[in-house]
Subunit: 229 residues, 2 copies
Amino acid sequence: MGASYYQFCPVAKAMELLDERWTLLIVRELLSGSGRFNELRRGVPRMSPTLLSKRLNQLARAGVLTKKDDRYILTPAGEELRPVVEALAVWGVRWIGELGDQDLDPQLLLWDMRRNIVPGALPAHRTVILFAFPDVPARTRHWWLVLTPDNADVCDTDPGFEVSVTVTADLRDMVRIWRGDLSWPDALRSGALDLQGPETVRRTLPTWFALSPFAAVPRPAIHHVGGNS
Amino acid sequence: MGASYYQFCPVAKAMELLDERWTLLIVRELLSGSGRFNELRRGVPRMSPTLLSKRLNQLARAGVLTKKDDRYILTPAGEELRPVVEALAVWGVRWIGELGDQDLDPQLLLWDMRRNIVPGALPAHRTVILFAFPDVPARTRHWWLVLTPDNADVCDTDPGFEVSVTVTADLRDMVRIWRGDLSWPDALRSGALDLQGPETVRRTLPTWFALSPFAAVPRPAIHHVGGNS
DNA sequence: CTGCATCCGACTCGATACTG
DNA sequence: CAGTATCGAGTCGGATGCAG
């Protein structure tokens, strides 16, 4: 447990548990459907496994989750953290518009997109999307998304299948699209994003993905730069 | 600023600022109407003034508050943290029912009660309530609340006025009443709380205070002990 | 009284390597 | 796949001091 605040205030009692670094991000992952240890790790790749393990045990002791057969499951108390996480996300998307270059992790983006594929919107046959991020170091520049009607795989090495459509964009712009800061049509019009492939695929591709659940949150008139400085 | 999570996720970006110890409690105080440095201190008495100052500066840099003439004021971004704090309070009151003895700070209780006096419910003349907490060390056992129709003062030493009514209860029970875990009538019936004074005053006293804003939140059927262990 | 700055011990985090 | 072990660096928190 985090250190006590020595207050009976419910906010203080909640934060004793929840204000520790990484804790609510783990809850976010669990709310998004991840359950296994290494699945959770992919959602918090910069967290050491030691600390993840520690946090999971803390959350279990606090009654937020339980472990069953190598799967971590939210309890009702944990499920009820959804409004907290959602309120934070709404606030974050409205007031922390400026992202540092360090925040743009292509693996997290592809992982997120994979999670939010619209079931039933995909073509009936296997479709392979190649994402190319010219502004990213070679090592993580290319990503493949292998889509079949009932499965989706993210690869950071060429899986060997024929590419159906290539998406080229700066990673920053792809993230902005995903977050709802930039619309898909605007990105295409301005040239920030380029699609190469058969026209029918190019036209329907944007319908295959639901954007971030908070992409539609209305933004304030003025943004403040949340100082990474 | 807190350390970065290196994620574009809005929850992560929000938590970079908000997951640091004390930060959301300061926001809670500001949302409750406190504005001056030492007013804020009374809401977070265990926080060192150095750290409070540091956090206030961080929040100012992040655009959550501004300082004007020795008063800290929430910006629109700060005001929009209200849903976050409320969601946390609702969760806390539902799932962290067990309070440690250390959490029962009489000063915070009296301060909270003072803040939530129902305007217009008070008698027309000066009324003095003496709170006696037999389970508390002598130093902080007695508290006086001096009420006039347009003012209320908390004293930890006898202000000298005649006491209109004496409230005797274990601090834990008084806090439970305040949080909505125990009703005023139930406390009187069981003897957990005792009122001494004229009958009219004894009858109306419970109407002078609004309970904690989260006292009315429905509780889950089963509580989990949020381990202070 | 208000609003900080400095100093220092205790603790926590993060990086890396390692085990069943 | 699912975690543990170890250790240096950084941060928190409390005491103390000091300007306006």
